[in-house]
């Protein structure tokens, strides 16, 4: 691949280090990236893919000779248009950044200055490069149009909070393309978006790349996404390259085991179980609103879940699915309807519920980091429900904690650790153990896998399925990820703007005929094959900014 003539970007044998400060030890240098080389020609897109910590963002930023935090590039060469930018010094970088190489970050909402209009921010770098204001604005408007933003002539006059998340991400892409760079680094540009929004942004980015002819590095953890936009894909793990190949080769014929794992991920599956036992949870006609709001966030939601089954509640952000969890747990008393749990009617608010109600209804959170007290050990975290509900103490408690740790496939020695000493997947496992410790009938899982890497998330799903088989616990599984739903659900409820638009057995819900929203949702889930994006877009008449 190094036979490309005049590549835009050439990275040779890159080495990146950082200083780590482990508590209680002296600081030491750790290697984040080592021995990575790549070549990128004009107009081509290279996808960098890997789990968190694989070094993909670090490599992306190194193409601008930038290291986040204490990260330093300590070896190798980064050539942009044949010039080693690591040797150019501050003056050389100033000419490069924002002109030759630009960057699109993950969270546009956090990256825009909320106090300035979009246009001023989009053309800022172009103005700094000496482009006259009128020309820069003309360029921006043309880009807005190309990226499918509504009313491209006037949208620049809006403030960041006046446009949607997907529109903001497209405005950021316009910002990156406005100075007419030769290389754009996209760092997880669609990860924070809903699937139905992601597809529009993805299509817009792809078209813009094609029309402007820039080279791009596209960083993501989602192989299905990267397959849609990339010519070549580099698979990374632990800061080293695993495999580099064309998108087609990586998707269809991965050579390395790790790439194969990534491609075949989400193979967790189980047969839909028929609803046998008694209904453990019956939600009747629930409406709810937050104080201060003038409309209901949940509108007459009615759902039923049988013992030992999994009900998946699917929807975009803002559909009311997390609110539903808050209502069921009693954190948000509903203003209408009732909840039956295990045959008895639950008190609408937390205060009126018995200890038994609380014990039988447990919850697992999305962010395991914040769901555990950082100053309690794993043993204390899992042990507390044992002590609180069952009065276990001393040796009996320790024994049960170890049994639970075994159940979540974590060995001895974890009981004395603090959450900060665990990996993301391990933290979520501890949260599962804490919920299991109460011997619940129902566990509410609120996006429990969405903060995890695909392979780790898969492990968590497998664990949850196994535990369900052994303990007969029912799950109410809240998620926006349809792949997860397919893997784990017996029943599915699709929520949209506070209403259940479709519910029933998994196989029924996922088979046609569909209602409009379910169809949109299902067809928006990226599939791991080339050309999927084009097919969907062709099928769907893309409405300019129809959000």
């Amino acid at each position: 691949m190094s036979d490309i003539k005049n590549p835009v970007l050439e990275i040779r044998n890159l080495k990146i280090e950082a200083t780590s400060y482990p508590p209680g030890e002296s600081p030491r240098d750790i290697t984040i990236v080592e021995g990575v080389s790549l070549t990128l020609a004009k107009g081509k897109v290279m996808g960098l893919i890997g789990e968190s910590g694989a070094g993909k963002s670090t490599i992306g930023l190194s193409s601008m000779a930038y290291g986040r935090g204490g990260v330093r590039i300590t070896g190798g060469e980064v050539l942009v248009n044949g010039i080693d930018i690591l040797k150019g010094g501050a003056a050389g970088l100033r000419k490069l950044r924002g002109k030759t190489v630009t960057y699109v970050s993950q969270s546009a909402a956090a990256s825009f200055n909320p106090a300035r209009k979009l246009m001023d921010q989009v053309i800022e770098t172009s103005l700094a490069l000496g482009v006259p204001r009128s020309e820069a604005e003309a360029r921006a408007v043309a880009l807005f149009e190309k990226l499918g933003l509504p009313s491209p002539k006037t949208i620049g006059n809006r403030y960041p909070h006046q446009v949607s998340g997907g529109q903001l991400q497209r405005a950021m892409t316009a910002m990156a393309l406005c100075p007419q760079p030769e290389l754009v680094v996209f760092d997880e540009p669609t990860t924070a978006l809903d699937v139905t929004t992601q597809i529009e942004v993805l299509a817009a980015i792809k078209e813009a790349i094609r029309d402007t002819g820039v080279a791009a590095l596209y960083i993501t953890h989602d192989l299905a996404v990267v397959a849609q936009v990339s010519d070549e894909i580099m698979v990374l793990r632990h800061g080293a390259m695993v495999e580099l190949g064309t998108a087609e080769q990586i998707i269809h014929a991965p050579r390395e085991d790790y790439s194969r794992d990534l491609v075949s991920v989400r193979q967790v599956n189980h047969a839909q179980k028929p609803a046998e036992g008694e209904a453990v949870l019956k939600i009747n006609d629930i409406s709810a609103r937050y104080s201060g709001l003038k409309f209901d966030v949940l509108k007459q939601v009615t759902l039923e879940l049988a013992a030992g089954q999994t009900l998946a509640v699917v929807g975009e952000s803002g559909s009311g699915k997390s609110t539903l969890a808050r209502v069921i747990t009693g954190l948000l008393p509903p203003n209408g309807g009732s909840i039956e749990f295990g045959g008895r009617t639950l008190s609408p608010s937390l205060k009126g519920r018995s200890k038994e109600d609380l014990r039988e209804l447990q919850m697992i959170y999305q962010m395991a980091d914040t769901a555990m007290n950082p100053r309690q050990t794993v043993g204390a975290i899992i042990g507390r429900p044992l002590e609180f509900y069952f009065g276990l103490k001393g040796a009996a408690k320790r024994k049960r904690v170890q049994e639970l740790l075994d159940e979540i496939e974590m060995g001895a020695g974890f009981a004395d650790r603090y959450p900060a000493e665990l990996s993301g997947g391990q933290k979520q496992r501890v949260c599962i153990a804490r919920a299991l410790a109460a011997k619940p009938k129902l566990i509410i899982c609120d996006e429990v896998t969405s903060a995890l890497d695909p392979l780790v998330a898969d492990g968590i799903l497998k664990l949850l399925l196994n535990l369900q088989k052994e303990e007969g616990v029912a799950y109410l599984f809240i998620t926006h990820d349809l792949a997860t739903v397919k893997a784990i659900a017996d029943k599915i409820a699709v929520m949209y703007r506070g209403e259940v638009v479709r519910d029933g057995g998994r196989d029924t819900v996922l088979s046609p005929p569909f209602d409009d929203y379910t169809d949109l949702l299902l067809s928006s889930v990226p599939e791991m094959r080339l050309g999927w994006l084009e097919e969907v877009i062709a099928h769907r008449k893309m409405d300019a900014g129809g959000e």
Binding site: L331, N373, Q376, F388, R434
Partner: protein
Amino acid sequence: MSRIPLSALIGMVVTAAYFLAAIFADVISPYGYADVVGNVWDPVSAEHWLGTDSIGRDLLSRMIYGGQITIFVAAAATVLAFATGAFFGFLAAVSGGWVDQVLSRLVDLLMSIPALILALVILSVLPVSVPVLIGVMGLIESTRVFRLSRAVAVDVAVMDYVEAARLRGEGTIWVIFREILPNALSPLVAEAGLRFIFMVLFISTLSFLGLGVQPPLADWGGIVKENKEGIVYGIPAALIPAVAIATLAISVNLVADWVLTRTSSLKGGRG
């Protein structure tokens, strides 16, 4: 362990010296605190290292015993301020609603009156004894602690693990002491250092104004008051307790600063 910076080291040595002198006052002080052992305002000599005071008592002994009282009163008042202020601050943050409103507005009301004037008014009515002094100072300062603890606890109280504890059915006391307190400790520890110094200044001010520690006992503020006339005649006796107050304040601050940067480190230190 990272290395202790020089400033914190100096702070620790000086603070420790003052505290040790206060604890072992009976052992190290050369004379009794009320014994008249010389003439009025004797200069520095081998018998009286710091000279004598306005009625001929050994100034070094007075300083050591004065330090004992100053540090004891300030420390006790700090503990009282933190026990009440932090508890009610956490309670307000955890309970929310009208509990928070009532407590917060009450504290606002107290804080709207200048602390020194409030203390003078209360002390002019009550009998001035050491326990009363501690109580008045502690409760007045607890309003400041309340504000800080409430602000810190509000941030902690919205964490998922606090919600998880509530869903488990834990009571308010458990939430306050097991979930919130350990996570709010580091800013409070640093604040305690600063509050201690404010207490030292507070008790010194009160004594200087005559409503603090009563004679023949004296704290550093009282010693300044007893010897302030000497300044007119060029006698430095009043400056010595002033220097003691200043050096103690600075050294405790140096330590508190270091504690704050160390425990609020983002690198996962579990202070």
